[in-house]
């Protein structure tokens, strides 16, 4: 059994890959591929409502059954994530403790020579 967090990730990936908004049933069918047991519809609903609460998917209530679509494209989230992770966001990224910051080309060349890497 995958954790709920991993299910959220695969569900969102399916929604990104889909041509348009999906109903919970359609999403369950897509998630069932490669998984013999399949998922209960209630589990899919739980995953979708968690994603909705976090602001990653939006529900369209005007149609029945309601459909779900990602709020933003995957690329936008990847850009935001990388912006933080690479330390380009200034003060904001102080929330993360990176293994090592980037050094200047001169300094790293000196270090690489010191360690015999080049």
């Amino acid at each position: 059994m995958e954790s709920l967090g991993e299910l959220e990730r695969t569900a969102l990936e399916q929604l990104w890959d889909a041509a348009g908004p999906l109903t919970p049933g359609e999403l369950r069918d897509r998630l069932a591929i490669g998984d013999q047991r399949g998922l209960a519809l209630t589990t899919v609903m739980t995953v979708l409502s968690r994603l909705e609460k976090k602001g990653f998917v939006a529900r369209d209530r005007t149609v029945r059954p309601a459909t779900y679509a990602p709020v933003s494209a995957r690329e936008e989230y990847v850009a935001e994530l990388m912006h933080d992770a690479l330390g380009a966001a200034g003060d904001r990224t102080e929330a993360l403790a990176r293994f090592v910051g980037r050094a200047s080309a001169d300094e790293t060349a000196a270090l690489r020579r010191l360690l015999g890497l080049d």
Binding site: D84, L86, G87, G90, E94, A97, F99, D106, E107, L111
Partner: protein
Amino acid sequence: MILAAVLLAILAVLLAWPVPLALARSSWPDRAPGTALLLWQAIALAGVLSLIGSLLVAGLAPYGAHPVAAIRVLTGDALRGAVPQGTTTGSALALAAAILLGAHLVLNLVATVVRTERQRARHRSLVLLLSAPMPETPRTRVLDATAPIAYCLPGTARSLTVLSAGLLALLSEQEVQGVVEHERAHLRQHHALVLVAFRAWRIALPWFPVASRAQDAVGLLTEMLADDQARRTVPDPVLARAIAIVASGGGAPGVPLEDAAAADPVSVGRRVRRLVSPASAPRAVRAVVPIAAVALVVVPPVLLAMPSFTG
């Protein structure tokens, strides 16, 4: 009380400028990062306590010989709606400054902690949605990115270590192990708590350049402490190589080095050099500095409370 106010003010000035500058310039912290981190925290805490303390003592001086008695007189009069007897413009200003500064620092700390937590929560949810779990390594995620990246996300029960696919491709298995141990040490030793306090201090005192130096120094010391934990698992040269390779970006495309102006080249060099030629701190430093750190924090409250100074 004037003697106490003057002594606290002298201590505040010393801790605001010459002492932290001397510490930032000295070389022993690289050899005893834990001791140096303790001293930085003591300087920050004692500096703030003595500054607020000296203003408080000066502000309370007209109302009584002892601060506690003076506060009783002050609040008693204030509750009756009367201006306490003996109040001067100077004492009122000092008292107001003490209260404002104290409130400013406390509120800033709370605001910084809340903002940092919110940023981490947002980043954590992005990481969980966009990265894959690393096989056989709990609480570790792999980002699908070519640049070599490694960092940790603290969280009470949900801390995460994040590595990029580029980092895994660039480093040997043992070097990766060193990186993972380094990040775990940050999480285990709760470095994020110290860092957020110094971050808040810098944000609260933008006109005070030493706060920014202190934040940089403390950040580097936590890196060295994490390196020292990683050294217990992987040999020093392996860790040094990992640091140098990641710092140089491994020649990863798409990430111009100019973007990394915020990165401090000196800190990378200092981390690598202490691994290449390790040395232990002078015995005097190891013996004296912890005592000095404790004494620094104890002195301001003692000056505030002791009748021989306040009487």
